[in-house]
């Protein structure tokens, strides 16, 4: 079965040289794609989680009584929302990366920075998407009536308890559609990690078609289909979540 599959693509590449699906009939190229997919998934999942955490914490700090804290959050949002994510990525890796300490690698003589390029990609992209998430959650929080929070306050809830038990669960529901969009964008933006040589799917694809120009169209096709599937799974999951969180008799 597998043999026939491999044979089919080998034959296809012979008959139509522009359609060389090299990763389907050469194990070494297949391994590159698998590795690329792994990195893309790791980047996507890590950035989604961290950016949501940044969004939740940032939105909470934005309602802080301290003016300084609110200004810091506002400054963070302005910086990360108004500059290109690709430039941020380069800045984090090449500028900030110089100042982070390094440790001696396992071979005993190379210096390995404590934050790798993958680490910087996760940090930079999480902060980028996190800035949007703060704004998304803030608009969700603003949709929670003041009077509902007041009722919690009158029952003795602290500010943090009110946020955690009342405001956030309600704000989350309101924010989900906008959050959905931002996370879809985030997953697609992970391809920019190619700029600091993170071996994710785009990096591997470019490597493949540089080595084998005949594989260019098939590899591009694979890139598109991979992202359609990854983003599709994300969107499906978000929709399921939205449905599960629906409150009978509340909102639309």
């Amino acid at each position: 079965m597998l043999e026939a599959f491999i044979e089919f693509f080998r034959q296809l590449a012979d008959d139509y040289p522009r359609w060389n699906f090299i990763f389907f009939h050469e194990p070494r190229q297949w391994a590159r794609i698998v590795k690329g997919l792994q990195y893309t998934l790791v980047l996507s999942i890590a950035c989604v989680i961290f950016s949501v955490i940044i969004g939740v914490v940032g939105a909470w700090l934005q309602s802080s009584p301290s003016k300084l804290v609110r200004h810091i959050v506002q400054g963070y949002i302005q910086f990360f929302r108004n500059t290109p994510p690709f430039v941020q990525l380069l800045f984090f890796y090449f500028a900030l990366g110089q100042f982070t300490p390094s440790i001696t690698g396992p071979d005993g003589w190379t210096e390995v920075p404590i934050i790798s390029n993958v680490g910087w990609a996760i940090i930079s992209l999480s902060f980028f998407a996190g800035a949007f998430n703060v704004e998304i959650f803030r608009s969700g929080i603003e949709a929670v009536p003041e009077s509902t929070q007041e009722a919690a306050e009158a029952l003795g809830f602290s500010r943090l308890q009110t946020y955690k038990e009342i405001v956030l669960p309600l704000a989350f529901r309101v924010s989900l559609p906008a959050l959905n969009n931002n996370l879809v964008n985030l997953v697609k933006t992970t391809t920019q990690a190619i700029g600091i040589a993170v071996p994710e799917l785009l990096y591997q694809s470019v490597s493949i078609w540089s080595d084998y120009p005949s594989a260019q169209y098939p590899t591009m096709l694979l890139l598109f289909i991979s992202f359609i599937v990854i983003v599709g799974v994300l969107v499906l999951g978000m929709h399921r979540w939205e449905k599960a969180m629906h409150i009978p008799g509340y909102g639309a």
Binding site: S147, E150, A151, A154, G156, E165, G249
Partner: protein, 251 residues
């Protein structure tokens, strides 16, 4: 908190010369009165007279600029006020019910004792089911607020407040947003409470109800108490022109 020197024989709520402003607008201009334990007090008056503001100051939802409010000896007008201690003693019900829409009726009632008082969920649940029964909502435990009528939501809100075992209940125009046919079910619930000896302070436009339930009625207008007295004398023998005018419009 200097509560140890407070006894039942002293006023449970003592309000002295309270002044409250929103910006330049002074809404309370020196209000003073006492409420004894077990008393039911109704505050009436035209819109914008400061009734709701006054009642909100009692559990520190609004701060005051001058004067003193003591609840069981706790000074509310104090920067170092322990709000949690105050709110354990004072329950509040709002005009718009303000239930937590993502929690069922039962969960609404259970939430504060579990999260704030850290009581065990099993005990809280038993107590919450009793309270739901007390406000006559058996069978609605698992309904969400959006599935309940206004009157039912308001009764859940009362049960939610009672779950914290308050000594005083504040009611801020709790029937003002209700359909006429559901007003009665809420008033009956409040009456039950008053008959059980709960200290109640109500801001209300339901004059018939105030007459029936109140031990004492305060009429406020433009930030001051114009006239007060037990319902019998208050409604029959109002002396002040403003009171007479208000009563003639509303009765």
């Amino acid at each position: 908190m200097p509560t140890d020197n407070w006894t039942d024989s002293q006023p449970i709520v003592s309000i002295k010369d309270v002044h409250k402003s929103f910006g330049d607008l002074e809404v309370l201009k020196g209000i003073s009165f006492d409420v004894m334990k077990g008393e039911v007090v109704c505050i009436i008056g035209p819109s914008g007279s400061g009734k709701s503001t006054l009642i909100r100051c009692i559990n520190a939802l609004n701060d005051i600029q001058k004067g003193s409010i003591k609840v069981e000896g706790i000074e509310v007008h104090d920067k170092h006020l322990n709000k949690l201690e105050l709110r354990k003693k004072v329950g509040m019900v709002f005009q718009q019910y303000n239930l937590f829409p993502h929690k069922t009726a039962l969960e609404n009632v259970m939430m504060a004792p579990i999260k704030v008082l850290k009581e065990s969920p099993a005990e809280v649940e038993a107590k919450a089911r009793d309270l739901i029964e007390k406000v006559r909502l058996q069978g609605k435990e698992n309904s969400y607020p959006g599935e309940l009528s206004g009157g039912q939501q308001q009764r859940v809100a009362i049960a939610r407040s009672l779950a914290m075992n308050p000594d005083i209940m504040l009611f801020d125009e709790v029937t003002a947003a209700l359909d006429p046919e559901t007003v009665k079910e809420v008033l009956v619930t409040i009456k039950d409470l008053a008959e059980d000896g709960m200290t109640c302070m109500l801001v209300t436009h339901e004059m018939g109800f105030a007459k029936e339930i109140a031990d004492h009625i305060y009429f406020t207008d433009r930030g001051v108490i114009v006239e007060h007295g037990p319902p019998a004398t208050f409604f029959e023998q109002a002396k002040d022109e403003r009171t007479k005018e208000f009563l003639s419009q509303i009765l």
